[in-house]
């Protein structure tokens, strides 16, 4: 009986063979290739230079700037997302309600166009300064600064922070919140002791979904940084499209990949450990 069941199980797992082939062909082999490029020079000889090129002045500066942007973006998104989710909850905007819809809908407008719209809003004689002028406030020179890039990435990735936190918080049984209040917890304490800790899995997904793309994006910095401010994504892109140095480009990509995977592994690990990761 059990042997027969085992056979059935094994037979069913063969259904995954096309996918297994796909993984080999289009996930593993490309990774091997990029490592090969990263570890060889133009002539095909082994070298560490491409990986180490991250430490060159220009590269390390771009790399560090990317980390700053990504960390700043992640933190700002968290700070904006929690009040947003709590406010939505307060207003009784349920999971299936209009709320999700309102947050997802903007993603259906091409994102490059949306970033271009921000360029128009933030430019020196753009809409923001026009409105500020009407209010009698001085123009702000935000265009082509790191602040403009920050606005762009926060705008772009905020929904990816709101959604998982929203889902986690909507999953919390209302009775738990009532129980906490019953035991004497006021609004903020309920958040600190019950809602926040139980939303941590969602928060961690949000961090993964915001940190990685905001660190590696090159379109936002291209448009809102005015071409002068380079993220590591811009550097890599130019190695392929302008410099045609695929080996250095691959070296930087591999470095970036390893950095991202390690930092996200850390986050995901925290996530699976669940309870212990709660700091408060």
């Amino acid at each position: 009986m059990s042997e027969c069941r085992l056979k059935k199980i094994n037979r069913r797992s063969f259904l995954a063979s096309p996918y297994a082939l796909w993984i080999v062909g289009f996930t593993i082999l490309p990774l091997i290739i990029i490592f090969k490029y990263a570890l060889t020079d133009g002539a095909g000889a082994f070298t560490w230079d491409n990986l180490l090129s991250i430490f060159s002045d220009v590269h390390i500066k771009a790399f560090w700037f990317s980390i700053e942007i990504a960390a700043g973006c992640t933190i700002i998104c968290i700070l904006l997302a929690y009040p947003m989710v709590l406010a939505m909850k307060n207003l009784g905007l349920g999971r299936k309600g209009l709320s999700m819809f309102v947050i997802i809908l903007p993603m259906w407008m091409n994102f490059i166009l949306r970033i271009l719209a921000w360029q128009m809003i933030l430019s020196n004689n753009g809409i923001l300064n026009f409105l500020l002028g009407k209010l009698g406030m001085g123009p702000v020179a935000i265009a082509n600064t790191p602040a403009a890039i920050m606005v762009g990435v926060v705008y772009d990735y905020l929904p990816y922070m709101i959604l998982p936190i929203f889902n986690a918080i909507m999953d919390i049984d209302e009775d738990l919140i009532e129980a906490a209040r019953d035991l004497g917890a006021g609004g903020f304490t309920v958040f600190r002791r019950v809602i926040f800790p139980l939303s941590v899995p969602g928060l961690l997904s949000g961090i993964v979904m915001v940190f990685v793309p905001s660190m590696t994006s090159f379109v936002v910095s291209d448009i809102l940084g005015g071409g002068k401010l380079q993220l590591i994504g811009n550097v890599i892109e130019q190695e392929f499209t302008v410099g045609y140095n695929w080996n250095v480009g691959s070296g930087l990509s591999v470095t970036l990949m390893i950095f991202v995977l390690i930092s996200m592994m850390f986050t995901v690990k925290q996530k699976s450990e669940g309870k212990e990761s709660v700091i408060w």
Binding site: E178, A180, D182, L183, R193, P197
Partner: protein, 356 residues
């Protein structure tokens, strides 16, 4: 200090335009065990949630110790709730759950540790402090929920069908234990159930509710013996309640016969009320039974036979899948577990016993 701790003063509440509570009045006395009993949807939980502060009445007042607390948020009320679904915090250990309210009150850690120990002992859960709530059985989780509420020393404990999710055997155990806990902590319990047996067995006073209105209020015995209207009669009427004497722990005398039971702590030779469900009684030959009586009627009810047996002036009601011959003398047995003992209502006879 008046004896009335809480008063609901003509409370009305509508949901979606429907009257849920209408001009509802209720008084709770100190150290009283009051049960709200009624069918599903009659407004029991709503009443509790108004007292807890989770629902605001449309009109009427909630008075706590004479003070109007109608607009006080739940966290400021000296009332705690035990929820039907336990509602333990899944990200905290049992001990952390119990400490939740005390930490908010900024008690010393020594005090908190002592309280946790005391509460765990009270609910028979010593040594479980470090466990995760999710690793506990339903009954254990509910004990923790009770402990978590009680350590805050509320003046009233609200219990909304706390045993509703447990199986029958566990329910019986927990019922006994709740009574024990109630005696130990000496606070007012307001208990909600739609199980009449449970209400009859545990309460000092029962309020039978239907459609947001109190149908009848009184001791278990008065409700059972003298239902004031058809609804109450119909809702309550399905059990055998008979006078008995608790000879000693684990032994009760009914109709002059000593019968083993599982209850303890009633003292010796204490008059009690005994409750036995019709389906828990079994018709056997007259030699085998604890009690003997004559079958007076047998009615087929579809899924079972309703058999009436007259014994020593009391008509027992039995539900059985097998019929019995009318007119014949038969025996009746019952498993110790299925005998429920309850205190006589806090009335004259209890005083008499104490005076002796």
């Amino acid at each position: 200090m008046s004896d009335v701790i809480l008063q609901l003063d003509s409370i009305s509440k509508k949901f979606d335009g429907k009257d849920i509570l209408k001009d509802f009045n209720l008084e709770l006395h100190r150290n009283e065990f009051v049960t709200l009993l009624g069918p599903s949807g009659c407004g029991k939980s709503t009443t509790l949630r108004i007292i807890g502060g989770f629902v605001k009445p449309d009109s009427g007042r909630v008075l706590f110790d004479g003070t109007d607390i109608t607009n006080l948020p739940p966290e400021k009320r000296n009332v705690n709730t035990v929820f039907q679904k336990y509602s333990l915090f899944p990200h905290m250990t049992v001990a952390e759950n119990i400490a939740f309210g005390l930490k908010l009150k900024k008690k010393s850690s020594k005090y908190i540790a002592d309280k946790i120990d005391y509460a765990l002992k009270l609910v028979n859960m010593e040594g479980y402090g470090g466990r995760n709530p999710e690793s506990l059985s339903g009954g254990q989780q509910q004990r923790v929920a009770i402990a978590r509420a009680i350590v805050n020393e509320p003046e009233i404990l609200l219990l909304d069908e706390p045993l509703g999710a447990l199986d029958l055997k566990l329910r019986h155990d927990m019922q006994r234990e709740l009574i024990k806990i109630k005696k130990e902590v000496g606070i007012t319990f307001l208990y909600v159930t739609h199980d009449q047996e449970e209400a009859l067995m545990m309460s000092d006073r029962i309020l039978v509710m239907n459609k947001g209105i109190i149908q009848q209020e009184g001791s278990s015995k008065s409700i059972y013996d003298e239902p004031q209207n058809a609804f109450v009669a119909d809702f309550i009427g399905e059990s055998n309640i008979i006078d008995g004497i608790m000879v000693k722990d684990l032994l009760v005398k009914i109709q002059g016969v000593d019968i083993p039971c599982v209850d303890t702590g009633f003292g010796t030779n204490t008059p009690v009320d005994v409750v036995i469900r019709p389906e828990d009684l079994e018709v056997v030959s007259k030699e085998e039974g604890f009690l003997k009586g004559t079958v007076t009627s047998v009615i087929f009810k579809g899924a079972y036979y309703e058999i009436k047996v007259l014994s020593d002036g009391y008509e027992w009601m039995i539900q059985s899948v097998n019929p019995a011959p009318v007119g014949e003398v038969v025996g009746l047995t019952v498993l110790p577990d299925n005998i429920q003992i309850m205190h006589k209502p806090a009335s004259d006879d209890e005083e008499v016993v104490r005076d002796e």
